[in-house]
């Protein structure tokens, strides 16, 4: 789960990391009032859960409350990568001397957290990593020992941080590591971490992504979830425990298992079709879950045909068939459907669907070819 910048920075501040003064606003008038309260120059920042807001014009500096009102009005009307901006963060503007990058993430190969730091923060860190990898300092943390002071001295000296800032940097780094641990983060990042003209280290921007699997430990984080940032289909999928990602194609897919779902999308593409979504109903999915999945797919107006591919192991094919029938009663069968049921109770499942005017297939290749044809043929 991704958190908004303002949420991440609030958590950072609770862990002793200096952040700019500021607050979040839903309306341009609120933004103006916050600017007035802060005094001086402010920066108005779109709060959306996608990158690239800067280049999209979602971050603007305002010298006066009136300018803050104007900028907030514009930004709150924007869409960034199809996501409408519903909140802006109004922060006091910092006088920046130096911009540093500092982040902590999981290194799956090393099976350890890794700290990543660079003297070249602020701009796209991935660009820096690609062009000048020697400017990126990596330091693993032993998960049993935790972060040790000498590691921070190593980083500080490698990014040529002036010595007067070492103590402040250590405090921020320990704070960020504690954020990472205490929230079960997969990414905790400060970019840029700035040295201000007043010689203070301040976390100007913050990103925090937490491990969905660990949310049960952190109920307070679950309340920060912004379902405004999900499409209604994503919200419904999450509530029903389905794994769903909308895509651009015209063939809807309902599959059990993530690997098989990807393989099903791949074979659709192989035969010239384009998948409209990834949807994994999971293991042992019952009729209700299947019905919800079908409703979610059929709500997408781009979908021209549907492929249901179930390999019954824990999942029973007859249960799946029942779910399909239930959903069709509600939403109506407006599209051609190809169904492939293999494994546990496949006969019963096929029998249930026999009267529902569906195309059936035995092999995956057969199913893919049929659904591509039904959607209008290979493009």
């Amino acid at each position: 789960m991704k958190l908004h910048e303002y949420q991440a920075k609030t958590i950072f501040a609770e862990h002793g990391i200096a952040i700019p003064r500021g607050r979040v606003a839903d309306t341009k008038e609120q933004a103006r009032d916050i600017a007035k309260e802060l005094g001086g120059r402010v920066v108005v920042k779109a709060q959306v859960l996608v990158g690239g807001r800067g280049k999209a014009g979602g971050v603007k500096v305002a010298d006066t409350p009136a300018a803050a009102l104007k900028h907030a009005g514009e930004i709150l009307g924007m869409q960034i990568k199809d996501l409408p901006v519903r909140k802006v963060l109004v922060d006091e503007a910092a006088a920046i001397k130096t911009e540093i990058y500092f982040g902590i993430t999981n290194d799956r190969s090393a099976r350890k957290p890794v700290m990543i730091a660079s003297a070249s923060g602020g701009i796209d860190i991935e660009e820096v990593a690609a062009q000048t990898p020697e400017k990126i300092i990596r330091e693993h943390v032993d998960p049993f020992l935790g972060l040790r002071d000498y590691q921070l001295r190593h980083i500080a000296s490698m990014i040529d941080l002036p010595r007067e800032h070492w103590a402040a940097f250590a405090k921020i780094a320990h704070g960020l590591y504690n954020v990472y641990k205490n929230t079960d983060a997969t990414l905790a990042e400060i970019n840029p971490l700035v040295i201000t003209e007043a010689n203070q280290l301040v976390a100007l921007d913050g990103k925090l992504v937490v491990d969905d699997n660990a949310l049960y430990k952190h109920p307070e984080l679950e309340t920060l979830r912004d379902s405004d940032e999900e499409t209604p289909a994503e919200t419904e999928a999450r509530i029903h425990g389905l794994s769903y990602v909308a895509l651009d194609g015209e063939i809807g897919c309902m599959v059990n298992g993530a690997g098989l779902a990807m393989a099903t999308m791949d074979i659709i593409q192989l035969y010239g079709g384009r998948p409209a979504n990834f949807l994994d109903v999971g293991g042992g999915a019952g009729a209700e879950k299947v019905a919800a999945a079908l409703r979610i797919i059929l709500r997408d107006s781009k979908v021209k045909a549907l492929l249901i591919n179930i390999f019954g192991g824990i999942t029973r094919c007859d249960e799946v068939a029942r779910g399909v029938l239930t959903a069709l009663e509600t939403v109506g069968a407006r599209l051609p459907m190809v169904v492939r049921l293999v494994g546990t109770n496949e006969e019963e499942g096929r029998k249930l669907l026999a009267d529902a005017h569906m195309l059936t297939a035995t092999s995956l290749a057969d199913a893919a070819q049929k659904v591509v044809a039904a959607a209008g043929g290979a493009r």
Binding site: D211, V245, G259, A368
Partner: protein, 285 residues
């Protein structure tokens, strides 16, 4: 000896009295697997069908000489279950449970290594040695006895491949479902080595997916004079970069770990790569 498990393996099921634990225990026993003990805290002294239940792994091992743990407990108890099995001295631990937090696994994995325990999973379908033993949730009837070693990250995709092999008249020596979590136990590479040393395995099928570098590491090993022919399929060629695909492992990390990179690495290593799962049997010919 087959790979990892056979008819002599003595399985201890952690979470045996749960819905999934009990269902699959019955399936395993029906398949001929020796399930000798169950563990459910607070239910020691009871029975799960014909299997005695213990409060702790240590007690189960002392009483039954179990030598393989199979874990079905809810995700929040899975880390503890793995550690307990390792502490009780079990050399092989298969964790079916899905949803174990990554930071938990970063503690569990090195501890298990220190104990000398091999972990399969978590978030995996387990092991199937047709005609020998089934330790996990892979449906037994979809594979027949044979000489193809199968190693895979995902569940139902694996079943699809076993099914396709059987349809084509090809049997399986052992199928190892290693799971797709970012931090797990046994890797593709580990299983390739086991198959290399296994006289009953003649050919190997590797079923990978996007994310991580496990397939690339396997390719590098195969390139260095691997002794048996390998065919592979990589799922996720059509997946957009950076979208989460259900498996925590199936995230394309910073441009690396894409399907095309994995396929290129495998091909360069001499592996025949299928365009879709049903092509695999033909590539083994």
């Amino acid at each position: 000896m087959s790979v990892l498990v056979d008819q002599h393996t003595r399985v201890m099921v952690q979470g045996i009295t749960g819905r999934e634990g009990l269902f699959h225990t019955r399936q395993m026993i029906a398949y001929g697997t020796q399930v000798v003990a169950g563990v459910t805290p607070g239910k020691g002294g009871e029975w799960a069908d014909s299997v005695p239940v213990f409060d702790t792994c240590k007690l189960a091992v002392e009483a039954t000489a179990a030598n393989c743990a199979l874990i079905f407990v809810p995700a929040r108890f899975a880390a503890d279950a793995m550690l307990e099995a390792a502490d009780a001295g079990l050399p092989l631990i298969v964790c079916i449970s899905e949803g174990v937090p990554v930071q938990d696994m970063m503690l569990v994995r090195p501890y298990l290594d220190k104990c000398g325990a091999r972990l399969i999973g978590p978030n995996c379908p387990g092991l199937l040695t047709p005609g020998g033993a089934k330790v996990g949730i892979i449906p037994g009837h979809i594979a027949s006895v044979g000489t193809v070693g199968v190693v895979a990250r995902s569940g139902t995709l694996t079943y699809e491949v076993l099914h396709a092999l059987k349809q084509a008249g090809l049997g399986t020596s052992t199928c190892v479902g290693i799971g797709g979590d970012p931090v797990n136990g046994t890797s593709f590479l580990d299983v390739l080595k086991l198959f290399e040393d296994d006289p009953l395995t003649e050919k190997v099928v590797l079923i990978g997916e996007i994310g991580g570098r496990d397939e690339e590491d396997a390719a590098a090993y195969i390139a260095n004079n691997y002794g048996k022919p390998v065919a592979a399929f990589i799922a996720g060629q059509s997946a957009p970069a950076g979208k989460r695909m259900g498996h925590a492992g199936a995230i394309v990390e910073g441009g690396a770990g894409t399907a095309s990179e994995k396929i290129a690495a495998l091909k360069a290593a001499g592996v025949r790569v299928a365009r879709h799962p049903e092509e695999l049997p033909a590539l083994l010919a």
